[in-house]
């Protein structure tokens, strides 16, 4: 069982050097997406080098043996393509969507930096990107109301020894300490074909593309194995109610409540994801209905899963208080909504409505070559099997009222909550 018309043709190959290649052809438009996931993220950073995985991502746009600094951007844009990269807790991705006759250019660029990055690295480039990243930190975290939530929440939810605990963006101090030796060591350890997945989706001939990939990537040597990570395992619940309070330059309170939930891709993940949608996707969701419309405690209320594939996932409720509403009142409102679902389970018809929305959303996202390639890389990286993408609708449809009820009862209680609360600085007076 799959979504109507949305079963993708998927071919998977492994090159001699360990690179996993995934192809999905769709020739309706002359567009192709190239998506490369390296299985490395902030979790792999060593002590004293927080933020390095992300700084390193910036360095990958500073050229390689046959490509000048910023030429990667220039060549792809000149070819009529879009591109970027992003760093996450446990992966870093690089992606281009280009007119299909420019596919080989994108492959050549990715291969040059996978195989031959280090000759282009200089102290000057590192110093510039370090300053750019420090400005990125100021822009996205330090000069942004509530901007620190996405480093404070993982810090609250994972113990200090856990690889997901520390800041992905990193501290200014650690960014200052990063050296060219760090760049070389990180590259050799993690940017190897056997630690990467290459997905290509769109207007391709599978056989030709396979040959092209072999030509460009085939001779890049395999790595020496990734350095081991500290254990990712955590217990299924926090075993209590964790709390973090932040006084910030904000006008109104904002309250996050996180719960540990089953990891991305596991059977129970689909129940957790469905539960998050019941709680907080759209105007028909429980949080919106209760906190925004009926009780008017919040001006916005949503819930989502982080989609972490190791250790534990997090289901996160995110609400912004109406002016004059205290953080305590808002948190109690969230707890009321969580308890209602935990104690009474889904209402009649609720599950069907949520699943219908998810199905449309899934089919909608499969229209974009870039989204298809990204999802293929995700399943290939975490589970070694990109064809799992074709099972997604069926796995959501297998969610039942009972599975949601069971999961809500096990995971939404007071023994599994972490509250992160932002309040206006007291010297500015409460709103």
């Amino acid at each position: 069982m799959s979504a109507p018309g949305a079963t993708l043709p998927i071919q998977t190959f492994r090159l001699h050097n360990g690179l996993l290649l995934t192809l999905s052809a769709d020739r309706t438009a002359p567009i192709v997406a190239v998506n490369l996931w390296y299985h490395v993220g902030s979790a792999n950073e060593r002590e004293g080098r927080t933020g390095f995985a992300h700084l390193f991502e910036h360095m990958l746009f500073q050229g390689s043996e046959h490509v000048a600094a910023n030429e990667h951007f220039e060549l792809i844009q000149r070819a009529g393509g879009t591109l970027n990269g992003s760093t996450w807790l446990d992966r870093t991705n690089y992606f281009e969507t280009v007119p299909s006759h420019q596919l080989e250019l994108a492959l050549w660029l990715e291969a040059d930096r996978m195989g031959r990055l280090l000759p282009a690295m200089t102290q000057g480039k590192l110093d510039t990107q370090r300053d750019v990243v420090k400005n990125e930190r100021r822009w996205s975290v330090d000069n942004q109301p509530y901007g620190s939530w996405w480093e404070r929440l993982p810090a609250l939810c994972f113990p200090p020894s856990h690889p997901f605990h520390h800041s992905l963006m990193g501290s200014m101090e650690d960014l200052s300490a990063a050296s060219l030796e760090d760049v070389a060591a990180f590259f050799r350890a993690y940017y190897t074909p056997d630690n990467a997945v290459l997905s290509i989706a769109g207007d391709i001939d599978e056989n030709e593309t396979r040959l092209l990939v072999n030509r460009h990537f085939g001779s890049i040597p395999r790595g020496n194995g990734r350095p081991p990570l500290a254990s990712m395992e955590v217990s299924p619940t926090f075993g209590g109610w964790l709390r973090g309070l932040v006084e910030d330059d904000v006008a109104v309170a904002r309250v996050f409540v996180a719960c540990r939930t089953p990891i991305f891709g596991s059977d129970d993940y689909y129940a957790a994801s469905t539960m998050a949608a019941m709680l907080g996707t759209g105007r028909g969701s429980r949080l919106h209905k209760s906190l925004v419309r009926e009780r008017q405690l919040a001006s916005a209320a949503t819930a989502f899963t982080f989609d972490l594939a190791k250790g534990s996932d997090l289901l996160v409720v995110d609400t912004t208080a109406r002016p004059g509403i205290s953080a305590e009142a808002l948190e109690q409102g969230i707890v009321d909504v969580l308890d209602e679902l935990r104690l009474h389970g889904p209402r009649p018809g609720e599950l069907d409505r949520v699943l219908a929305q998810m199905e449309t959303e899934f089919v909608t996202s499969m229209q974009s070559a870039g989204d298809r390639a990204e999802q293929l890389s995700r399943f290939a990286t975490y589970y070694g099997d990109p064809t799992l993408l074709n099972d997604q609708v069926a796995r959501y449809r297998a969610v039942s009222d009972d599975s949601v009820r069971g999961l809500a009862s096990a995971r939404l209680g007071p023994d599994n909550r972490a509250s992160l609360v932002y309040v206006p600085r007291s010297d500015e007076g409460a709103a």
Binding site: D142, Q144, R353, Q357, V363, Q367, A431
Partner: protein, 454 residues
């Protein structure tokens, strides 16, 4: 084993691409149907677009378009807010309704088997909103909360204050799109009813459908659901889009201790109907549109002042802002302003290199098909075609027209459409550090502005 070197590859032959075919059909009451059959996945995007945006509002009622559009989602005469949301969810969709400067939009995307139910429901929302006082007042309070939050959000604050400050106080354009604290506070449910009664008429409405549908059945369905909607006149607005000042200005909004300064530099740009559109689009790409633009390479890659710097012309019916936007480390605030001014001046002197023009035109030409991968993007492009009164062949000729922009055309666009003699600069940052640096910029005295929104 060492990696073998393969030469930089050349592109293969490109495959043709055409923007999807579409038909425009008018019903007898003046409502227009724009239908694009796209049969790739079983999906359809349904949207209404009405010439009823913030530009159509009286200045004193600023915000009524947004408030009314938001309130459309809060119930019809038949269905309350909760029931309406559930109806959309049952169809696997969700209703999005919002107003921009030029238009009010309602849209949803569903599996194409549910087209009829989705169109029926969307029509009910369009024609018979309830505007329940409790819900409208709540949305009004939420908008006021948003305006309060904006005061602590430097990026959004800089965007809004800069755009509003470009226009004369008497113009509707001197108040942000969704209205100011003062005007929003004054709005009533009666204003929403009156807005709906006067502005929501078939003659200013288009129904846009893109996806797995056939034209004949959509026409039949639209006639059945919308054919009896009575034609009526709607008032045309008079919008003053002239600049507030004919001289440069330098403003500072104090945020004590801010780690960065948000900078906006620019002025009132030009109307979308201006014949120089394509030259200006390419000129802007070179100046600050693509990653390797002059401004980004200077401020980010050469000077490391910022995470990013870009320029843009906003395209609307009225002359909308042209601006350079960036956030820089506090100590380099004045240096960053100076570098942006250097780039604006340099753009007006001599010709851009052939290579720069080629980079920007081949980028804009090449990404064209990538912009229209989804039914939602195609429907949105068709709504734009109608709202901005573009020619029917606009998307079919776009790539040729971009490719035919010349170095001379770019230079002329820079000379005619960048106005250093009325450059407006806004800095949102720490006054104690920033103000002393600004004196040497030859932009006149620094005026301090408060965080009030009018």
């Amino acid at each position: 084993m060492s990696a073998s070197v393969v030469d930089r590859p050349l592109p293969g032959p490109s495959r043709p691409y055409r923007f999807p075919r579409f038909e425009r059909i008018s019903l007898s009451n003046g409502l227009e149907l724009i239908i694009a059959p796209v049969r790739r996945l079983p999906l359809v995007t349904v949207r209404f677009v009405l010439d009823a945006g913030a530009r159509h509002e009286a200045r004193e009622l600023a915000g009524v378009a947004s408030l009314s559009a938001d309130a459309l989602a809060e119930g019809t005469r038949r269905l309350d807010a909760g029931a309406l949301a559930e109806q959309f969810e049952r169809l696997g969709g969700s209703l999005s309704s919002y107003a921009t400067w030029d238009a009010t939009h309602l849209r949803t995307t569903v599996l194409s088997s549910r087209l009829e139910s989705a169109l029926t429901l969307l029509t009910e929302v369009l024609r018979t909103p309830a505007f329940v006082p409790r819900e409208v007042e709540r949305l009004q309070q939420e908008r006021l909360a948003e305006l309060l939050e904006l005061k602590t959000e430097p990026r959004g604050l800089a965007d809004e204050r800069f755009a509003s400050s470009l226009y004369k106080r008497s113009s509707r354009l001197s108040i942000q799109e969704g209205g100011s604290e003062r005007t929003v506070r004054q709005l009533t449910v009666e204003n929403c009813h009156a807005w709906h009664a006067n502005q929501f008429v078939p003659g200013v409405t288009a129904l846009v459908i893109a996806g797995d549908v056939d034209v004949d059945s959509v026409v039949r369905l639209a006639n059945d659901r919308l054919g009896d909607w009575k034609a009526a006149e709607s008032p045309s607005p008079v919008v003053d889009d002239g600049p507030a000042r004919e001289h440069p200005s330098l403003r500072l909004l104090d945020r004590p201790g801010a780690p960065q300064t948000e900078l906006r530099l620019g002025h009132v740009g030009l109307r979308r109907s201006h014949p120089d559109y394509f030259d200006v689009v390419v000129m802007n790409a070179i100046l600050g549109g693509v990653f390797n633009s002059r401004i980004n390479l200077n401020l980010r890659e050469r000077n490391a002042f910022t995470y990013g710097a870009f320029s843009s012309y906003e395209w609307r019916r009225d002359a909308a802002p042209f601006l350079v936007s960036t956030a820089v480390a506090t100590p380099v605030t004045a240096a960053a302003i100076r570098e942006v001014m250097v780039e604006l001046e340099r753009m007006q002197v001599g010709l851009p290199s052939a290579d720069e023009v080629a980079l920007s035109t081949s980028y804009l030409d090449g990404v064209f098909p990538i912009r229209f991968e989804t039914t939602a993007a195609i429907a949105s492009a068709l709504a734009t075609l109608r709202t901005l009164q573009l020619a029917n062949d606009f998307y079919d000729t776009y790539r040729d027209r971009i490719r035919s922009v010349t170095r001379k055309g770019v230079a002329r666009a820079a000379q005619q459409h960048i106005h250093l003699d009325r450059l407006q600069v806004l800095a949102v940052g720490g006054r104690a550090q920033v103000e002393p640096m600004l004196g040497d910029l030859e932009l006149g005295p620094v005026s301090l502005i408060g965080d009030d929104d009018e």
